[in-house]
C-alpha cells in the first residue's frame, strides 16, 4: 500500500509539472503547402464589431482561397496586457490593432513591428485614400509603422436648445467662452460645464488641448520628448490657470463623478456643455438627446500654439515584421473604402478612409464631427499618450487637487520639472 501511494504521488507530481509544459506547446500547424495562415488579433470581442470582423474575414477568405485567418480578440485593458506579453517574444500576431503615439511607440521599440513605407509607396491608390494627417501618431523616426483606421476627436458638445433660449452664440475665443459660461450660470445652470474629474484621463484631455493652444508647438515638441523635456515655459502655468478657471464652472460635483456620469448629465439636459469625444456621439444620441452641436476648443487670446489643431488620436492596424505578404493584402482589405464604409454603417464610429463616411452611413451630428476632424490643421494626440506617463500622472493628479484648491499651478510645474529631470537620466 505504501509503495502504491509513493508511486501515486510521483505520478501526481509528474502530471502537475507536465501540465504546465504542455499548455505552452503550440499545436503543430497543419502546413498544407498552399494554405497561408494569418494570425489576426483585435480588441473587440463585443458587438457589433466582433460580428463585423468575423463577416469580413469570411469575405476575405472566400476571395482568397489560399488564405486562412485565425482570429483572436480580447477587450481593451486585457488587450493592452496581452499585446505587451506577445510583443516581448516571437508570438506576435501577423496583423493587430493598436492605439497611436506612446502606445504604438512602445510596441515599435520592440523592433518586431513592420515598417510600412514601401508598402504604402507601392500602392498609392490604396494608401492615398487614408487621410494623411492621421498617420502622425504611427510615425516614428519618419517611418510609418501603422495604418490609421478609426478617427476620433475631442470637442465641446453643447445643448442647442439651452443656447437658443439664452440667446447664446457658439464662442470663437476663450473670452467669449467664459462669457457664455457666465451667462449660463446666471440663467440657473448650477454646472454650466461638466466633467468627471475622477477619471484622470478626462483631465489629461483638457490639459493636452489647452497646452496645445497656449504653448509654442516647438516648445511642446521638445518638452513632450523624454530626452529633452524641461517644462520651464511659463505657458504651462497659464494653461493650468485656464484649467483651474474652467473647473470653477464645473462645481464641486465634478470632483466626485466620472466621465460617464458627466455625459449622462449632458444627455439629460442638466448640464449644457461637456467636453467629449466624437466616439461618444452615438451614446448621447442613444440616451435620447438629439439637439446638440459641437465646437472646437476656442482660440485662447495670446496663445502661442496652433488654434486650429484638433485633439484626438486614431486607432489603426500594425503588422508583425515577419508577416506574410497575404497579411498585407488583408490589411489593404480591412482599410479599403468598401470595408470602411460598412464599418461606420454598422458601428457608428468614424474612420480615416476618404469617401467612406457620408450621409448614407452616418447621422448628421456625426457628419459634422467628421468634418471637424478632416478639416483640422493638425491633430494633437491624447495628452496621456503624448507625454511620459509619469509626467502625465503629475498633471492629472495635479488637476484634481487644483480643482479642489489644494495646490497651485506653480507647485504642479515644479513637480513636473523635477520629474522631467529625473526621467532624462
Amino acid at each position: 500500500m505504501k509503495r502504491f501511494l509513493a508511486i501515486f504521488m510521483t505520478v501526481l507530481l509528474l502530471a502537475l509539472t507536465a501540465c504546465s509544459s504542455s499548455a505552452g506547446n503550440e499545436e503543430k500547424k497543419s502546413s498544407d503547402k498552399d494554405v497561408v495562415e494569418i494570425n489576426f488579433f483585435h480588441r473587440w470581442p463585443n458587438e457589433p464589431r466582433k460580428s463585423f470582423y468575423d463577416q469580413k474575414i469570411k469575405e476575405f477568405e472566400e476571395a482568397n482561397p489560399g488564405v486562412k485567418i485565425n482570429v483572436n480578440s480580447v477587450l481593451n485593458d486585457s488587450y493592452k496586457e496581452k499585446i505587451r506579453v506577445l510583443v516581448s517574444n516571437d508570438d506576435l500576431p501577423d496583423i493587430f490593432s493598436s492605439w497611436s503615439d506612446s502606445f504604438a511607440e512602445n510596441l515599435v521599440s520592440s523592433g518586431r513591428i513592420m515598417e510600412l513605407d514601401n508598402i504604402l509607396a507601392e500602392d498609392s491608390e490604396w494608401a492615398g485614400k487614408v487621410i494623411e494627417s492621421q498617420f502622425a501618431g504611427f510615425t516614428f523616426d519618419e517611418k510609418k509603422y501603422g495604418v490609421p483606421f478609426t478617427v476620433d476627436g475631442k470637442a465641446f458638445f453643447y445643448n442647442k436648445e439651452a443656447f437658443k433660449k439664452n440667446n447664446l452664440e457658439v464662442p470663437k475665443t476663450y473670452k467669449e467662452f467664459i462669457a457664455v459660461l457666465d451667462k449660463l450660470q446666471d440663467a440657473g445652470y448650477e454646472t454650466p460645464l461638466v466633467e468627471g474629474l475622477t477619471n484622470a484621463w478626462a483631465i489629461s484631455h483638457y490639459m493636452g488641448t489647452i497646452f496645445q493652444r497656449v504653448v509654442d508647438p516647438a516648445v511642446t515638441a521638445k518638452d513632450y520628448n523624454v530626452e529633452t523635456g524641461e517644462f520651464t515655459d511659463p505657458g504651462y502655468i497659464k494653461g493650468l490657470e485656464i484649467f483651474k478657471e474652467l473647473t470653477d464652472y464645473m462645481g464641486d460635483l465634478s470632483t466626485a463623478i466620472d466621465h460617464e456620469a458627466a455625459r449622462n448629465m449632458f444627455a439629460s439636459g442638466e448640464a449644457p456643455i461637456v467636453y467629449m469625444q466624437f466616439a461618444e456621439v452615438k451614446m448621447v444620441e442613444d440616451e435620447g438627446m438629439k439637439d446638440f452641436g459641437f465646437f472646437d476648443f476656442p482660440e485662447i487670446e495670446g496663445g502661442k500654439g496652433d488654434s486650429k489643431a484638433l485633439t484626438g488620436a486614431p486607432e489603426g492596424w500594425m503588422l508583425s515584421k515577419n508577416a506574410p505578404k497575404e497579411a498585407v493584402d488583408f490589411l489593404k482589405f480591412l482599410t479599403s473604402e468598401e470595408t470602411a464604409y460598412d464599418f461606420t454603417k454598422t458601428d457608428g464610429q468614424l474612420n480615416a478612409v476618404q469617401g467612406a463616411v457620408d450621409e448614407g452611413n452616418t447621422s448628421p451630428a456625426r457628419l459634422e464631427a467628421y468634418e471637424l476632424v478632416t478639416n483640422a490643421s493638425a491633430t494633437t494626440p491624447w495628452f496621456d499618450n503624448a507625454v511620459n506617463i509619469n509626467i502625465a500622472d503629475i498633471f492629472m493628479r495635479g488637476g484634481q487637487t487644483l480643482a479642489n484648491e489644494q495646490t497651485t499651478p506653480e507647485d504642479i510645474m515644479k513637480e513636473v520639472q523635477a520629474e522631467a529631470k529625473r526621467l532624462k537620466k
Binding site: 501511494l5 474629474l197 475622477t198 465634478s254 470632483t255 506617463i389
Partner: protein
C-alpha cells in the same frame, strides 16, 4: 528515546504543497527582492541595475508618507469600529432581550460580508454621489443640509468615506466571530453575577471582555494586517484620488508598477508592505504564545 526510521511517505505528501508554495509564494518573494535593485519596464527586456536608488527614491517620495498615514488611519478606525463596536454588537445580540430577533439580526449584519467588495464599492459610489446619492439625500431629509459634502471629491473626506464603507462591509464578520466566542463563555459566570446583582454593563466589562480576550487579540491583528493590505476599496471607489489624498500603500504600488510602468520601484514599495505585515505577523505569533493560559 527511540530513533525513528526515515520515512519517505510523509515527505512525498508534503511535496506538492511545498512545490506550490515555492512557486507562488517564496520564489516571487525572492524575485521581488531582487527586482527592487533594478530599473525596468514591462516593455523593455533589459533591466538596469541601480543599486539602492529605488530605496533612496522611497525616502523622497511624498506619496509614501500620505499612503502610510492613510493605512494607519485605516487601521485605527478599523480596530475601534470592527473590534470595539463589533464586540458591543455581539454582546447585545447575545442578550436575552434580543433572543427572538438575534438570528435575524445576525443575518442582517452578516449580509454585507457576502457581497463582493467590488460590488459594494460601486454601490457606495452611488451612495456618496453628491447630487443624487443616498447619503446627501438623507442628510437633507433630516434637516442637516449643512453637513452635505462632496464625499469622494473632497480630499479631506475621501479617505474617511472609503474607510466608512469598509467598516460597513466587514463589521458583520467580526461580530460573528465574537458571537461564537461569547457563546463559549460558561453560563454560570453570568448567573453568579446576576446573584451578586451585577448590571449588564458591569457584566460586559467584568465577564465578557476578559473571557473573549483571545478573540479580541486575534481580531485586532487580523484587522490591522488587513488595513495594511487594503486595495480594492480605495482603488475602485476613488482610485486614490483626488490627488493622492486617498491613496494607500498597495494602490500606490499598483499604480507605480502597472500604470507608470516603473516595475523596479514598485518592487521596492512591495518590500515595504511585506515588511510591515511580516512584523505584524511576528508580533502575532509571539503574543499568541503567551496567551495560552485558557
Amino acid at each position: 528515546m527511540q530513533r525513528r526510521k526515515f520515512n519517505i511517505i510523509p515527505v512525498l505528501f508534503l511535496l506538492p504543497s511545498i512545490a506550490l508554495l515555492l512557486v507562488f509564494v517564496y520564489i516571487p518573494l525572492i524575485q521581488n527582492f531582487y527586482n527592487s535593485f533594478f530599473d525596468f519596464s514591462v516593455f523593455s527586456q533589459t533591466k538596469t541595475f541601480v543599486g539602492l536608488e529605488n530605496f533612496k527614491n522611497l525616502l523622497a517620495d511624498k506619496v509614501v508618507s500620505v499612503a502610510l498615514l492613510n493605512n494607519v488611519k485605516y487601521a485605527i478606525i478599523s480596530v475601534v469600529l470592527q473590534v470595539g463596536l463589533a464586540l458591543v454588537l455581539a454582546y447585545i445580540l447575545e442578550d436575552k432581550l434580543f433572543h427572538r430577533v438575534a438570528p435575524f439580526l445576525r443575518v442582517v449584519y452578516f449580509m454585507p460580508v457576502m457581497i463582493s467588495i467590488s460590488v459594494v464599492a460601486l454601490l457606495f459610489g452611488f451612495v456618496y454621489n453628491p447630487q443624487m446619492g443616498l447619503l446627501n439625500s438623507f442628510l437633507e431629509l433630516i434637516g442637516l443640509e449643512n453637513l452635505k459634502e462632496v464625499w469622494l471629491g473632497n480630499p479631506e473626506t475621501a479617505i474617511y468615506s472609503v474607510i466608512a464603507m469598509s467598516q460597513w462591509h466587514s463589521i458583520g464578520f467580526v461580530t460573528l466571530l465574537f458571537i461564537v466566542a461569547i457563546q463559549k463563555i460558561p453560563k454560570e459566570l453570568y448567573e453568579a453575577a446576576d446573584i451578586d446583582g451585577a448590571g449588564k454593563i458591569r457584566k460586559f466589562f467584568s465577564i465578557t471582555v476578559p473571557q473573549v480576550r483571545e478573540a479580541i487579540f486575534v481580531n485586532t491583528l487580523i484587522t490591522i494586517t488587513g488595513s495594511m493590505l487594503v486595495f480594492n476599496e480605495p482603488y475602485i471607489l476613488t482610485n486614490g484620488g483626488p490627488g493622492f489624498s486617498s491613496t494607500v500603500m498597495s494602490v500606490h504600488m499598483y499604480q507605480t508598477g502597472f500604470v507608470k510602468d516603473n516595475m523596479g520601484y514598485a518592487s521596492t514599495l512591495a518590500i515595504i508592505i511585506f515588511l510591515l505585515t511580516a512584523v505584524l505577523a511576528l508580533i502575532q505569533i509571539k503574543l499568541s504564545r503567551t496567551g495560552k493560559d485558557d
